[in-house]
């Protein structure tokens, strides 16, 4: 871990970065914000960890728990809501056995997240599967896509 963190700190000093850019680098390196990483950085920079966690919990970009290998984001914008995104979301959580109140399955294979709007409203309902925007989604197609991902593993 130290090696990665040293590199992040190097970047911080070189590009006159700030607490937020450090967190962005951590998120990029680990896929989430490990508590341990924040504590180490905070000791090295003499900035209280609470400042980092305050920022990390404020923005939707940061995650405090490990995320799944495949990330499925369901758009919850107005047009998608009108066209039934909630049904897709509920079905996904059921299909992937995601515990209530969580967004990642226990085997860390899938994360199901929500986003306010991805700005592809002409194609609602929209689901983003591993950064690929997929429009005019239906429950049946969603299940097909999941099976494709499962077949990859």
């Amino acid at each position: 871990m130290d090696e990665v963190l040293d590199k992040i700190l190097e970047n911080y000093f070189e590009n006159d970065g700030n607490s937020l850019t450090i967190l962005q680098d951590i998120e990029k390196s680990y896929g989430y914000i490990p508590e341990d990483a924040v504590c180490r950085i905070s000791r090295k920079l003499d900035i209280p960890p609470s400042r980092f966690f305050g920022i990390a919990t404020f923005y939707s970009q940061f995650h405090l728990k490990p995320r799944g290998k495949h990330i499925i984001t369901v758009c919850r914008g107005t047009p998608c809501h009108v066209k039934g995104s909630e049904k897709i979301l509920n079905r996904l959580q059921m299909e992937l056995d995601i515990p209530r109140g969580e967004d990642t399955s226990e085997d860390l294979h899938f994360s199901v997240e929500e986003v306010n709007c991805v700005g592809a409203c002409g194609l609602s309902p929209v689901v983003v599967i591993n950064s690929q925007v997929q429009g005019q989604m239906s429950i049946n197609r969603m299940i097909e896509e999941i099976n494709k991902l499962r077949a990859l593993d």
Binding site: G17, N18, Y59, C117, V133, G135
Partner: protein
């Protein structure tokens, strides 16, 4: 057959890419590069990507232009490409059945494209294409031939106003920042478009990133800034990618860096991927975010143009505002002012969505009526159902009723009606949309996105949301409407930033214009639009039921009883109101009320 110039343009916005636009482009490219084509046309047959043209529901859209004559195809899939190539391009005989029809013409006919003029026409990843259309001439002029005073004067005369929502005159903002004496000044492009249902900024950046950069360069020159930030939502992956590429191209060509255009001025523009929070669209919160802090708005003791980023004079302009700037310098302030109304020049881009036939990105001159947008460009209501209302300006905007269909779309008229221009979301509602449910939906977003600094906004919005929730669940109480009004007006009056001041809008405007619908939900426990699940009942119409048993099969809670070929019954105690039987019944025998 000789001397034919053939250009193939394939849409490449987020919408198109998800519909397979990349494969369509590749298919055209490989056919254009094939030996047969090369032998016949040499290099006069080219296929390239263009930015989004706003009509994403018909993607993939393809233009085939032969000697300047354009034919547009819609809903194209890669396997359709060879036939278009063979019949249209080689034999000169367009494929009629795939051509975009009346709907496409209607959608574009009533629009005036200024900001979106490049989108759908040129390759957004090519600097050469932008230069060929006169790109960076306005910036060159601003750096080499004009004084900052002249630029500001020109922008002021154009009557350009901030497209982020509040509509502050852009020229005036630049003047405030220009007057300040400071060694460091900043120009920031606000691309934190987070309104659900708004995607204008995303399309502009994806389709024409250089216009935004050029607008920033002109602003930087006018106010004397040497550093700029483009603050764009991290979840707009394609926009972030194209902006990064465009910035690199500019640096390589010397449009950015030291001694821009040999004018002696330095300018560096950096991309700042926004970490994602609705509130970051607010100016003071956005600056906190760039400074690396929690994005909580602060009291506006000074204008940001006077004391902004790190306490230095900072101009924050919206993506669309900046994209207008090169056009104003290029074609003149008078022309621009002539397009809009007296108080606001130019056009505004709206994201038209909801229950209209044509949804997508539309650009209209300021001052056009809502009726013209909905029934002209939008092609009217889906299935010709009755118009009910229109939500303008995103989740902090307001919902207008039919009485306002003839009101004009400009800052003053909309404010008078109780809503805002906002970021340009237009969600059209019809008789099958429930007003209370819509208000609840918006409050659900705003109560979660409140930054938490001011109590009225943090707790008040939450309470309003809970009241709306109980109304839509059938537990509304007498006095709830008055309570919502009271809470809403207090939140409006006592919040620090524009977010809290506008967040109660959806509730307050819907109560103002659709009070009866709230009353029916509370007193009669009914939802006239048949949307609120807990207020519905499903029953079987005995005369229509043939006893086919389909409903029984789809019911997830075994609530339907009956023997085959005899009419069925729905057990209200077991019914979970999912509506599966209603959707499945082929004989209209399920009554939903």
């Amino acid at each position: 057959m000789d001397k034919k110039d053939i250009v193939i343009k394939v849409c490449s916005g987020t919408g198109s890419l998800s519909a397979g636009g990349k494969d369509v482009l590749e298919a055209f490219r490989s056919l254009a590069a094939s030996t047969g084509t090369q032998a016949e046309f040499r290099d006069r047959c080219t296929a390239h990507q263009v930015g989004c043209r706003g009509f994403c529901s018909r993607d993939v859209l393809v233009d085939v232009i032969i000697n300047g004559e354009k034919i547009t195809y819609e809903l194209i899939k890669p396997d359709m490409v060879p036939r278009i190539f063979e019949e249209h391009i080689l034999q000169g005989d367009p494929v009629d059945e795939w051509m975009a029809g009346e709907q496409h013409r209607e959608f574009h006919a009533a629009q005036t494209k200024i900001v979106l003029s490049h989108c759908g026409e040129m390759d957004p990843e090519s600097l050469d294409a932008y230069l060929a259309s006169g790109g960076y001439e306005a910036a060159h002029q601003a750096f080499v031939r004009m004084t900052p005073g002249e630029i500001i004067e020109e922008i002021k005369r154009s009557a350009l106003r901030g497209r982020g929502g509040a509509g502050f005159p852009t020229g005036l903002k630049w003047e405030f920042a220009g007057r300040m004496r400071s060694k460091e000044k900043y120009v920031v492009c606000n691309g934190n478009e987070s309104d659900p249902g708004a995607f204008a900024d995303r399309c502009i950046i994806e389709g024409d990133p250089h216009s935004v950069i050029e607008g920033m360069m002109i602003c930087a020159r006018a106010i004397g800034a040497e550093r700029g930030y483009i603050y764009v939502r991290d979840s707009y992956a394609l926009a972030v990618k194209r902006l990064g590429l465009a910035l690199r191209q500019c640096r390589e060509h010397g449009f950015l860096g030291s001694n821009v255009f040999d004018s002696g001025f330095d300018l560096d523009i950096r991309l700042y991927p926004a970490p994602g929070a609705f509130i970051c669209g607010e100016a003071t919160a956005l600056m906190k975010s760039i400074e690396g802090k929690r994005a909580m708005p602060s009291p506006r003791m000074w204008r940001t143009a006077e004391k902004g980023l790190w306490g230095r004079p900072t101009v924050i302009n919206n993506v669309e505002t900046l994209a207008n700037v090169p056009r104003i310098l290029g074609r003149g302030a008078e022309w621009f002012a002539g397009v809009g109304t007296e108080n606001s020049g130019g056009t505004k881009v709206f994201s038209l969505t909801g229950k209209v036939k044509n949804t997508g990105l539309v650009e209209i001159p300021m001052g056009v009526t809502l009726r013209e947008v909905i029934y002209g460009i939008g092609g009217g209501m889906v299935e010709d159902r009755a118009f009910k209302g229109i939500q303008l300006g995103g989740p902090t905007g307001g919902c207008l009723s039919e009485a306002f269909l003839d009101s004009r779309v400009d800052y003053e008229s909309l404010a008078l009606a109780g809503t805002i221009m906002g970021s340009g979301g237009m969600v059209v509602l019809d008789e099958t949309s429930c007003i209370v449910d819509t208000a609840r939906f918006f409050l659900d977003i705003t109560q979660a996105e409140s930054c938490g600094k001011c109590t009225p906004c943090r707790l008040g919005l939450r309470r309003m949301f809970e009241i709306l929730q109980r109304i839509t669940n059938g537990h509304g109480r007498n006095g709830d409407i008055e309570l919502l009004e009271d809470l809403g007006s207090h939140i409006r009056a006592t919040s620090l930033c524009g977010f809290g001041m506008t967040a109660p809008n959806p509730v307050l405007t819907t109560i103002r214009y659709f009070r009866d619908e709230y009353a029916v939900h509370i007193k009669d426990r009914k939802c006239p639009a048949l949307v609120c699940k807990n207020l519905l009942t499903y029953s079987c119409i005995q005369e229509n039921c043939t006893g086919c048993g389909l409903c029984k099969k789809v019911c997830p809670s075994d609530a339907i009883r009956g023997t085959r070929k005899k009419s069925h019954k729905i057990d209200q105690d077991l019914c979970v109101k999912c509506g599966s039987c209603f959707d499945a019944c082929k004989f209209d025998a399920v009554l939903r009320e």
